[in-house]
């Protein structure tokens, strides 16, 4: 009978579950005194339950973390600081500083990178090919992109089909846009790092695209629910959308036509890199764990041991460890290869990891979305909307 029982908690698909259970089995077969109880849920339910469990002091030992939430949990002391284990139980030196620091909050390591990820321009290749367009490259500027999108709409000439989704409410793309202008979303001390002017420029750009019918109308975009199945590309309403590189597989599954990924447009000459590499997800360990050391060992098994890594494969993203990545590369399928290639390509074009977002960042994301909709539906003027965004964001930040 196992003396050490650990609970592991993650979201994701059946594929992920299968692989994770397999990896766990490998681990427990070798460590007979350990048992791992795996719990898996879909994304939406995952966070409610996690919050409840953490709040009830009954958090699972191993928690799959998202970049969006790690700050919230880490700053509130819910997660274990990995630093004491670094180099001992946790051997992830070969991740490189960037990939490791992606799991740092306020200079402490709370999450171990499970895979590298970046924003992408997601394109319906079949449509682009058919209409004679090329997917954006690292050279494409926002202006060219807008032009191309308008062209696509015109060329496709199908009612209800447009060049691109309306991304004016997408936070990652807005962030990239700000970074390209030399700004950011937040400063290191948790203040707003963009101005109403930046926001205005962003909204204005999208507004022009809307006028030009380059992007989908607001009532179509309004149905986007941050999920693959509601993406205008999946629904056949646009040729291009924005996403994250690890979502390529998911997109392809729901699309009959061939989809692909490309870099985000840039600001053109004098622009700064907007994209950055961030972890697709991370392993965290609960601060409440009774067996933190064992938990960290398991984390290590997943990200640094060849067997563990082999078991989970690329399903959670491209491993940060070069060693592991090299070992896994041969078994990649086409989509996996495309992803890995993209990450490699982008490594040269990305900027530094932004400072960790402050508390309230999640709420500001929803404000961005709402303001963008208000503008799109003509409820407020662009300048007004930009001011509103900044004002509300400031308010949220000051509330903490």
């Amino acid at each position: 009978q196992a003396e050490t029982k650990l609970r592991m908690y993650w979201w994701g698909s059946k594929e992920r579950a299968d692989r994770t259970f397999a990896a766990n089995k490998l681990y427990t077969d070798k460590n007979k005194n350990v048992s791992i109880e795996g719990e898996t849920l879909g994304w939406n339910d995952y966070w409610t339950k996690l919050a409840t469990q953490v709040s009830g002091r009954n958090a699972p030992d191993l928690i799959q973390m998202d970049y969006r939430y790690i700050f919230e949990y880490a700053r509130r002391g819910a997660l274990l600081n990995f630093d004491p284990y670094m180099g001992k139980v946790l051997q992830i030196e070969d991740f490189g500083k960037e990939a490791t620091d992606a799991g740092r909050v306020d200079n402490k390591l709370f999450g171990v990178n499970l895979g590298m990820n970046s924003m992408v321009t997601l394109v319906n290749r079949s449509v682009l090919d058919q209409l004679g367009f090329k997917a954006p490259t690292t050279e494409t500027t926002w202006a060219q992109f807008a032009e191309m999108a308008a062209e696509i709409t015109k060329k496709a000439n199908r009612p209800g089909f447009f060049g691109v989704s309306d991304a004016s409410g997408y936070e990652p793309e807005f962030e990239a846009f700000c970074r390209q202008r030399g700004k950011a979303l937040y400063t290191a001390d948790g203040k707003l790092a963009f101005t109403a002017e930046d926001a205005g420029a962003w909204f204005d750009m999208w507004d022009k695209m809307r006028q030009a019918k380059a992007c989908v109308p607001p009532d179509v975009q309004a149905l986007y629910k941050n999920s693959i199945d509601t993406s205008p590309v999946t629904l056949g309403k646009s040729a291009i959308d924005f996403a994250h590189s690890n979502q390529l597989v998911g997109f392809q599954a729901l699309n009959k036509e061939k989809v692909g990924i490309a870099p985000l447009p840039n600001a053109g000459a004098g622009g700064k890199p907007g994209q950055y590499l961030k972890p697709s997800m991370l392993w965290s360990v609960s601060a409440q764990s009774k067996n933190p050391e064992e938990a960290v060992k398991i984390v290590n098994f997943f990200v640094a041991s060849p067997e563990g890594a082999a078991a989970i494969g690329l399903e959670r993203g491209v491993p940060a460890s070069a060693k592991i990545r090299a070992a896994l590369l041969p078994e990649l399928d086409a989509l996996g290869k495309e992803t890995v290639d993209y990450i490699s390509l982008m490594s040269k074009h990305v900027g530094a990891l932004p400072p960790p977002p402050p508390k309230g960042a999640g709420e500001i994301e929803s404000v961005l979305r709402r303001v963008s909709e208000e503008i799109a539906f003509g409820k407020v003027k662009i300048a007004e909307g930009a001011k509103k965004l900044v004002a509300e964001a400031d308010d949220i930040l000051s509330r903490g």
Partner: protein
């Protein structure tokens, strides 16, 4: 059911063939609107995922049943297990709700005691608080009781009449039962327990059946409580199992989800058909002069 013939009010002319045809036509029309989503779900379960979202036609181009097998065995634990778990919980919930709520309802409807109005107000009040805010305190409570990751948090509250909806429902129905029957039973030497058991319950069969149907269906359909309280996949309910299919951030097995959704409808639909037979003619008021 004898309903068809018997429910015809004697002496009223049977509606002309045309009239009833028209009624049926309307009803069938409405039925279509009602059934459409089910048809769509079934159709979707027969499509590959890539066809579900961007195909305009409801009919699958190449219907294929593989999603059912894939869905059923799709997770580490098969849906058979989830099915059993859900069934156990739902059946216990039905028993618990019908028993405990009818007891409380009887007290509210028929007994006069100090504090009745106060407790009745409290009972209604429990309907009003959104469960999200009591979730955490309740979670802590169940955790301290050692009930988390068992069926107890899902079942025990039903035996403690936590669902005020059913209490209120039964109160309304009990109040419709003539008091003279209680009085007759009192004269026959019955105490309140026997009146409750021998008079109220049999006469409130339609209400009890309604409560039973709803208990079963709602418990079956509930995902939030099992989601929160059950950790071990072996103990997942059907709905929680379904939820693990969909992960909006990444790859999901949509046709498997729809296939299992369809399968999950079967027991509640059967239960509904079964229980609705108990929605028989009210018998509460014959046998006396009024």
């Amino acid at each position: 059911m004898k309903s068809d013939a018997a429910a015809h009010v004697p002496g009223t002319p049977r509606r002309g063939a045309f009239g009833s045809l028209a009624t049926h036509a309307v009803l069938i029309g409405v039925s279509l609107v009602m059934v459409y989503p089910l048809l769509w779900m079934i159709a979707s379960s027969l499509k590959p995922d890539s066809e579900i979202f961007n195909s305009a036609s409801i009919f699958p181009a190449h219907p294929n049943l593989s999603a059912y097998a894939r869905g059923w065995y799709g997770l580490k634990v098969s849906f058979g297990k989830f099915f059993t778990n859900s069934a156990v919980i739902a059946v216990l919930a039905v028993i618990g709700n019908v028993m405990s709520c009818s007891l409380a309802a009887y007290a509210f409807a028929r007994l006069r005691f100090r504090g009745r109005n106060f407790w009745f107000a409290i009972m209604l009040g429990t309907l009003m608080l959104p469960y999200h805010v009591t979730l955490i305190p309740q979670y802590v409570l169940f955790l301290n009781l050692g009930w988390v990751d068992t069926f107890l948090p899902l079942v025990v509250p039903k035996f403690l009449a936590a669902d005020a909806f059913f209490i209120f429902l039964m109160v309304q129905f009990f109040r419709g039962i003539p008091r003279e029957l209680d009085e007759a039973a009192i004269m026959d030497g019955c105490g309140p327990w026997r009146i409750y058991w021998k008079i109220m319950l049999p006469l409130a069969v339609p209400a009890l059946a309604t409560a039973a149907v709803f208990s079963f269906i709602w418990t079956w359909d509930d995902f939030f409580a099992p989601l929160i309280y059950l950790n071990d996949m072996e103990s997942y309910t059907f709905q929680v199992g379904l939820r693990t299919f969909v992960d909006s951030s990444g790859q999901s097995d949509w046709s498997g989800l729809f296939a299992m959704s369809v399968v999950g409808l079967v027991p509640i639909f059967v239960m509904f058909i079964f229980f609705q037979r108990l929605l028989i003619d009210g018998i509460a008021t014959t046998g006396m002069k009024r």
